[in-house]
């Protein structure tokens, strides 16, 4: 067998394809602030255009195998959806304020409307995203969302939150296995055990922090009560500083552990046809980003936020790559499904943060 035909006969050549991210905090800041001023000058109407520009910048700055992602949201459609959503929200607020009982009556309506909003919002988001001219899509049903978001929530509460990880797992599975790129569906295969593991580790860390703080505070109080001399004052002050550091750092660290575990569990191993996504965020690096971002935002009265966001996105994309089996050129576009543009644009307003 000669070498050339052997190469050609191996269609499933394995390769690692990284994501590239070219956005900078400075560019994102300027885009945000210029469009924010335009939004204010137009009394909010321009906000739909501003959002499209910001998202197009972020999508367009992310590329895979030499091609950037693209956001296709149409400002007018988004504006229309927002107007409908804001009107509904205003009616709800006024009604519940004037007749508090309506809140009680509307509660079941809201519970059943939430899955609808989730489906529409998710569908809008994915349908408006593309890579190499092929659109993403979402096929999750209303019933699926009702089960994943409401049904499993009830089960989690009834089991005193012991089955909470299952609820989280079901939500992620619903969102990801319902997603598609062209005609190809994403396959979500993370183990349930992974969710139980990080849920209970985070819970344990949280409880340990609280117990540790209570015990050390009581110990310090006792020490201060018995000693009362200059030497013990120095010890007390040191202990206080350490305590404050723990009070601030521990939640950030647990938050970093949670986000790293949740994101990795969602994306690591997510398959699209023969290709697999890898996602290996590390808690230490994420915690470092958290601490520096919080400091930056506080010290600049919030102006650092665009940089913080870009740093966070860049780190996540650095940790992700595609383990491709063969070429990424063979995805096919799906036939455009019947559009419910207005409904989806309404969902866009509520742009629920799925943590994905």
């Amino acid at each position: 067998m000669d070498v050339m035909s052997a190469g050609a006969a191996a269609p499933a050549a394995r390769s690692t394809i990284p994501f590239e991210f070219r956005a900078t905090g400075a560019e994102y800041f300027r885009i945000w602030i210029v469009n924010l001023l335009l939004t204010i000058l137009t009394l909010g109407i321009y906000s739909a255009w501003a959002k499209v520009r910001r998202l197009r910048y972020l999508y367009g700055s992310t590329s895979l195998a030499g091609s950037a992602f693209e956001y296709h949201g149409q400002p007018l459609q988004i504006l229309k959806g927002r107007l409908i959503a804001v009107t509904a929200l205003a009616i709800y607020l006024v009604a519940t304020n004037l007749w508090p009982l309506t809140a009680l009556l509307l509660l079941p309506v809201l519970v059943f409307a939430m899955p609808w909003v989730i489906v529409k919002s998710r569908r809008f988001h994915l349908r408006m995203s593309s890579w190499r001219g092929i659109r993403f899509g979402f096929h999750g049903t209303y019933g699926g969302a009702l089960g994943a978001y409401i049904g499993w929530a009830i089960i989690a509460v009834l089991t005193l939150y012991i089955l909470m990880p299952l609820w989280i797992y079901q939500r992620v599975r619903y969102l990801l296995s319902g997603s598609s790129f062209g005609t190809e569906r994403f396959a979500f295969s993370a183990s349930i055990g992974r969710y139980f593991a990080f849920y209970f580790i985070a819970l344990g860390l949280g409880l340990a922090t609280i117990v540790g703080l209570v015990v050390s505070t009581m110990g310090m109080a006792a020490a201060a009560g018995s000693g009362g001399e200059a030497a013990s004052l120095a010890v007390t002050i040191t202990a206080m500083v350490a305590l404050i550091a723990v009070v601030i750092l521990a939640p950030l660290a647990i938050g970093a552990y949670w986000e790293r575990s949740f994101t990795n569990a969602a994306y690591d191993g997510l398959a699209l046809g023969p290709h697999r996504l890898a996602c290996r965020i590390r808690t230490g690096r994420l915690l470092w980003l958290y601490v520096t971002n919080v400091l930056g935002v506080l010290l600049t009265l919030g102006l650092f936020y665009p940089w913080a966001l870009i740093r966070r996105l860049r780190y996540q994309l650095e940790c992700m790559h595609v383990e491709a089996e063969g070429s990424l050129e063979n995805f096919a576009a799906a036939a455009a499904p019947p559009a419910d543009a207005t409904g989806e644009a309404v969902g866009e307003f509520f742009d629920v943060d799925f943590g994905l």
């Binding site: 001023l37 936020y305 576009a333």
Partner: protein
């Protein structure tokens, strides 16, 4: 010729291609198996944002993607087909304009919170039905009773005396508010008085005991009536909601992490608004005293006694600096 890649819209395969925009407003795409030659009006060229790839979308869903933004801009400019998008991208590239925009956002937010919001809140307060007022008022009193106040220890006769004084003061006003006096022991609040929406006025025992003249208490009641008449409590509530909405509009789009940074200016602005409201209530009290032929010095005397007392700290934390409002030197 602009170099880029072509996607046929059916598969994710990339093909190198070249695009040209002719003076005849025709788009020519070459380098692919089936070259295209279509009118400019039939394609959609995406707006430029920073340097993200530019897309030319054909009406059958095929796209041409290029990183050569400058070449696309030059070609469009030559045809005079730039549009508003060309200007925005220009602004987004310049630090000077970003700085000006930042200043503009800050000034606009400040003007809105300083001038627009109080007016909006005052206008909205006029439209709020009294039933809502009453609900907020009694709900507020329940919460305060639970947390800050204790039952009054004043003799019942004294309480009735004070209630009839308020009734006598408020009846001639006939302003539609149902004034009601509530007496409470102030505990941590010390000598204090405040007005809730719906016309509930709360006086603490400590304040009643501090007063050395009945007209001093009347002056305080007049001040609180001023708050009720101007619907200050409700306006404050509406302004809080307005500031929250503004903060969401400005920063909500990019995230909630900066809420801490928003909180500080909001607190400062609210303090200023509450000072303005105190002045409004003071003005009403002084005018009322004048109209009743009572000495304005009763008001000053009471204010200064509040400022001098042991509980001055408690009173000051809920009211603006008294020195601005009453000439204490003159009273002594």
């Amino acid at each position: 010729m602009i170099a880029g890649r072509f996607f046929d819209g059916r598969t994710s395969a990339a093909q190198p291609a070249w695009l040209a925009l002719g003076a005849d407003r025709m788009v020519r795409l070459e380098g692919i198996a089936e070259p295209r030659y279509v009118p400019l009006a039939s394609v959609r060229i995406s707006d430029r944002i920073a340097d993200i790839p530019r897309r030319v979308e054909f009406d059958d869903g095929a796209t041409f993607e290029t990183a050569d933004n400058d070449a696309v801009d030059a070609a469009l400019d030559a045809l005079g087909a730039g549009g508003f998008g060309r200007r925005i991208v220009h602004w987004e590239r310049r630090w000077a304009i970003a700085a000006a925009a930042l200043a503009g956002v800050a000034i606009a937010s400040w003007l809105f919170v300083q001038h627009g919001l109080p007016r909006l809140a005052a206008a909205a307060a006029q439209k709020v039905p009294p039933s809502l007022d009453a609900a907020i008022g009694s709900e507020g009193l329940v919460i305060m009773d639970r947390t800050l106040l204790a039952p009054s220890k004043l003799p019942a006769a004294r309480q009735d005396e004070l209630r009839s004084r308020l009734a006598a003061m408020s009846a001639p006003l006939a302003d539609g508010h149902a004034y009601r006096l509530e007496l409470r022991r102030g505990r941590g609040l010390g000598p204090n008085a405040f007005a809730l929406p719906s016309g509930i006025i709360v006086l603490t025992d400590e304040l009643v005991e501090l007063a050395q003249h009945e007209d001093e208490i009347a002056a305080v009641l007049a001040h609180e009536i001023g708050h009720v008449r101007h619907r200050h409590a409700l306006r404050m509530l509406l302004q809080d909601a307005g500031v929250a909405a503004l903060a969401f509009a400005v920063l909500g789009d990019i995230g909630t992490a900066s809420s801490l940074a928003v909180a500080l200016p909001v607190v400062l602005v609210q303090a200023k608004h509450s000072r303005d409201m105190e002045r409004e209530a003071d003005a009403f009290a002084r005018q009322w005293l004048r109209e009743q032929g009572l000495a304005g010095s009763h008001f000053d005397a009471m204010m200064c006694r509040l400022a001098a007392g042991d509980d001055a700290v408690a009173y000051l934390s809920t009211h603006p600096p008294l020195a601005e409002r009453a000439d204490c030197a003159r009273v002594r």
